[in-house]
Amino acid sequence: MQFDTIGWFAISVDVLGRFWPVWIAMAICLALSFGFRNKLGLYGDLFKIGVGVAGVVICLFWLFTAVFAPIIAPFDPLNQVAAMKDALPGTAVPDGSGIYYFGGDMLARDVFSRMVYGSRIVMLIAPFATAFSLIVGIGLGLPAGYYGGRVDSVLCFLANLVLAFPVILMLYLLVTPEIRQLSFDNWFSEATGIGVSIPRSLAALIFLFTTIFFLTLFSTRFKDRRDRYYLLIGLTILIGCWINAGLVFDADPLGIVHIDPNQLNIFVAVVLGSSPGLFRIVRGLTMDIKTRDYVAAAQTRGESVWYIMLWEVLPNARGPLIVDACLRVGYTTILLGTLGYFGLGVPPESPDWGTAIKDASRLLRAYIHPALPPALALLSFVLGLNLLADALREQSMKD
């Protein structure tokens, strides 16, 4: 059978054209940021150096690709067109429905569409997992650094315990399908009828911790302003319960918040793995900052301990934390790729980049084209985040 193919030049033009929503969104976003760069603080400073611009551009590109994935991708990522098995880049589908720009993979799916959809999985898990590990790291690191003594020793021992676990072993143990099986043979399930598993309990713990964190955050600040206090506390409890019900127990009454159990499992493993590192950074920063004069001033004013930690120490520790969060999103992306590469926790047909690289690397001797797009996508996204972190570090050191 003869296939119509198009050349490399036509492929690049067409592919660039497919990204049109991304270009428009990026143009608007960059023009606005550049126009107001003097009013945007640290983010605006990024536009003053080349590395920063490159980082922002790459990160925005993948962000918008994830947002507009259904418009960009010409095919469904799971759709198989039997004739297109291992098709070369630029081969037209026989029924005339489109072109496989980057060719077909071993199961005759469109490599380009899979790459585009793969960005969604990364964008869904990596930033959120980093945000939650940041909250856990802050919530435990602040008291450890501020109180010192026995609190510090116990928390440090726990953090070192997790850090001594080689990441890969933790992933193997935590992200297996077996561990997700619900067990009903315990006091909690007998009382409530809800099955428990290790990822589920950990996820519930993480979300509960986050809710308590925000409750403390608002209650320390707005205790004297009753109108705001009740509003914020009420909202936090409502949203906390809603997200907990939707994500952990898969029982959202409105049916909006939902996550695949696989992804919840990955999310838990990533948060557990990266919060000890953040804990140590926050702890170190707190130990440094608590000796400053403004902390002493707050203590003299008689502010509560948690007010000082959350509203005096934390805002002054934000610089290094932002930089580290950027790097950590990149690291989480690499970790997600590792999970995909070992086939842990993701379904075999999942379009994420790690799984795509694993599938393609088995056939590397025969066909190389399915391997390169996901590999380069992952590489460029992590590179963008690292450039961003580097520029942020450089700009925040200037003052």
Partner: protein, 345 residues
């Protein structure tokens, strides 16, 4: 110093105990035990067969009794042959006796691998030797290259060399092993045909440049950037110090100042970083050894986890935890030794 080391050893022992309990708990979860049973007997066994097998092989004993057996403080029991009622060794392929005995970590017995049908220590030792070779070559590549890049970049901050080398090192830290492995294989094995895309022959026939360069390159590239950036930061800091300015004003040449005055002080940080990097290499080892089919520690860990091979997995975790803790200890002691301003209390 001695009390510091002793205290650290105490904490290390506690950490190891806690971690092995956690791993032991995870591998003994009901679904994992079922997986093991299905691997060991036939795939299509009924629930009763699985249950009787688990009970006969001793997997239904109390959790702490079994952990104690693994540790070596409780006696391991032989299994009873259901037909004759006589005691037979649990793992005949490991040469276990047919009477109760103490055979745990404290006795130096790592147990028996159900996947490879041999003693864990035998399997683990050869795997560690193989991985040691890989690590040696990776370190022999990473350390000189990254130190050189870091020193060249940090020597004159903000210069064009600095910018170029910094972007290169950022790019390598953004390249995880499974990405660089694919790209290198495409370039060097598929297109150029210079190197072998598999290191399987390295286990049996010994290492050659042809079969071992790709794994080493793949692992090295991810670490080079990170260590180079740490070296650069440390070098930049040293170069702004007063004593460097003094040496320059004395009229010493730039190269003399860099080599004699700056280097020694600038290398303290990279030393710590390199030591702390070893645990990170562990993840890389698993990826690279699986990718290039090299039968080392990572390959064994992968197999053990995939088959829920309890004793082998525990042995692997013990080894990796010891590696992590010992490198932390060495980096702390070495840091204090290299930097006279720091004293351990």
């Amino acid at each position: 110093m001695l009390s510091f080391v002793l205290r650290r050893f105490g904490v290390m022992t506690l950490t190891m105990l806690s971690l092995t309990v956690i791993v032991f708990y995870m591998v003994n979860l009901e679904p994992n035990l079922r997986k093991l049973a299905l691997n060991q007997i036939e795939m299509r066994s009924s629930d009763e067969q699985i249950e009787s097998w688990l009970a006969r092989e001793g997997y239904r004993q109390n959790f702490f009794v079994r952990y104690g057996q693994w540790l070596g403080v409780v006696q391991k029991q032989p299994t009873l042959d259901p037909a004759t009622g006589k005691a037979v060794p649990r793992f005949s392929y490991c040469g276990e006796p047919a009477e109760p005995f103490y055979g745990g970590i404290l006795q130096g017995d790592f147990g028996c691998s159900t996947k490879f049908r041999t003693a864990v220590s035998a399997k683990l030792f050869s795997a560690l030797v193989a991985t040691g070779k890989l690590m040696f070559w990776v370190m022999a590549t990473v350390v000189p290259i990254s130190l050189l890049i870091g020193i060249l970049a940090g020597m004159r901050e903000g210069s064009r060399t600095d910018r170029t080398l910094s972007v290169i090192s950022i790019a390598t830290t953004a390249t995880p092993e499974y990405v660089s492995g694919v790209i290198f294989t495409v370039i060097f094995a598929s297109w150029l045909g210079w190197l072998n895309g598999s290191a399987a022959s390295a286990t049996a026939q010994g290492l050659t440049f042809y079969n071992f360069s790709l794994p080493v390159m793949t692992m090295a590239i991810y670490d080079i950037g990170y260590i180079a950036r740490m070296t650069r930061a440390s070098m930049v800091e040293v170069m702004t110090q007063q004593y460097i300015r003094t040496a320059r004003l004395k009229g010493l040449s730039f190269s003399h100042v860099v080599i004699k005055h700056a280097l020694r002080n600038a290398l303290i940080t990279p030393f710590t970083v390199i030591m702390l990097q070893v645990p990170w290499l562990l993840t890389g080892v698993v990826i690279v050894e699986t990718m290039f089919r090299y039968q080392g520690f990572g390959f064994t860990l992968n197999e053990a986890a995939g088959n829920n091979d309890i004793d082998l997995l525990l042995g692997c975790s013990l080894v990796s935890v010891v590696v992590v803790l010992v490198t932390q200890l060495i980096s702390d002691i070495g840091y204090a030794y290299l930097n006279p301003r720091i004293r351990v209390q």
